[in-house]
């Protein structure tokens, strides 16, 4: 659909979108709104757990041990403001893409040996791994890396560097393996 951009000449001509510092500052301000309104920063992965627990309670309460789950969590799953935040995130991404165009302008596009589009299996398996990890750690890139670090939470300052470090090691080793294979 937007492949023309990938072949659109010199790299300087690629529109990379707004400054990341501007986007970051705006996300920071948004998080301040959340701190003030909810006494809690933006968090995303908890809403996935709530949604899964609500679905499990309706569809298969016994096989999913939903009663034990609620007892262990000490509160029943709820579709709350955090759930609506995720709904909003989906719709916000949709609105921005519809009104302002898809943002495919990645500087890595015109480099050799870059990561291709993921296969559905890689996307789903990666998503599954990281969500289980996020719930083990009680937070993800938003709850820990954005909001927890901003509050100086020890747990978030342990989780965030470790998570990016592990991801970086694996992504780099995957790329060098690919590069070796590609040059043959």
């Amino acid at each position: 659909m937007t492949t023309h951009r990938h072949h659109s000449g010199p790299r300087a001509a690629i529109d990379r979108g707004p400054s990341p510092y501007l986007i970051g500052a705006a996300i920071g301000l948004l998080n301040i709104c959340a701190f003030a309104a909810f006494r809690k920063g933006i968090g995303v992965s908890g809403a996935y757990e709530n949604a899964a627990a609500l679905a499990a309670r309706r569809l298969a309460p016994d096989t999913a041990h939903v009663n034990d789950y609620v007892k262990a969590r000490k509160e029943p799953p709820k579709f709350n403001w955090e759930s609506w935040l995720v709904v909003g995130t989906i719709l916000g991404g949709m609105a921005a893409a519809r009104m302002l165009g898809r943002n495919d302008a990645s500087p890595v596009d015109d480099r050799p040996f870059t990561e291709p589009k993921r296969t559905p299996l890689a996307s789903a398996a990666g998503g599954a791994m990281l969500m289980f990890g996020a719930r083990m750690a009680d937070g993800c890139t938003s709850g820990h890396a954005l909001s927890g670090t901003a509050q100086g939470a020890g747990s978030s300052w342990l989780f965030t560097p470790l998570m990016f470090g592990v991801g970086s090691l694996l992504a780099r080793s995957a790329r060098s393996r690919k590069r070796l294979g590609g040059e043959v």
Binding site: I23, G24, A37, V108, K117, R118, V166, L170
Partner: protein, 173 residues
């Protein structure tokens, strides 16, 4: 603010989500290649975006906190859950090129890989719900409770270093 009813909270959560999703998409973070590019060191936008967001958020949080308008809610320091979770999370992020928020923005912006990632996430969340009662003990083994880096326990956190910077400027006018 805390007296908000559920309807107001939900509407505000939705509004924050809308802006959040649009910002992620405009910042190129709804594209898995941007995130993988950060991990491989080819693209620094994730670090620039998140670094700025954390810095602005931290200043705002201190400011609000000094006025009693927000609280510290550090997630508990559970070494097992955090280290195990971070390893799984990093591996999954390298594989999918997403995290829970960016996948939602990606799915909304029409990227099929974002939809697949979200499907995997929901499946894993269900698996977590089913196994949590049995995992809880292990995840919380050796917990240190709610720890903040400045000032020890949340109750005592006044964050002197930042207060010194923020307070005089705020009291001048």
């Amino acid at each position: 603010m805390s007296a908000m009813n559920d309807g107001t909270r939900n509407a505000l959560g939705m509004a924050i989500g809308l802006v959040f999703g649009a910002l992620l998409q405009r910042g190129g973070l709804a594209d898995s290649r941007t995130i993988v590019g950060q991990l491989t060191g080819d693209d620094a936008r994730v670090a620039k975006t998140m670094g700025t967001a954390v810095a602005v958020g931290a200043l705002g949080h201190r400011w609000l906190h000094g006025r009693g308008l927000t609280t510290d809610e550090p997630k508990p320091m559970n070494p097992v859950g955090l280290v195990g979770g971070a390893v799984l999370f990093g591996a999954g992020m390298a594989l999918s090129g997403y995290c829970p928020g960016t996948a939602a923005a990606a799915a909304g912006s029409g990227r099929r890989e974002g939809v697949w990632a979200m499907a995997g996430m929901l499946a894993a969340a269900a698996a977590f719900v089913a196994t949590y009662p049995r995992l809880k003990k292990a995840l919380e083994a050796g917990t240190l409770g709610r720890v903040t880096l400045v000032g020890g326990t949340p109750a005592r956190v006044a964050a002197p270093p930042l207060d010194v910077v923020v307070r005089p400027r705020a009291t001048q006018p």
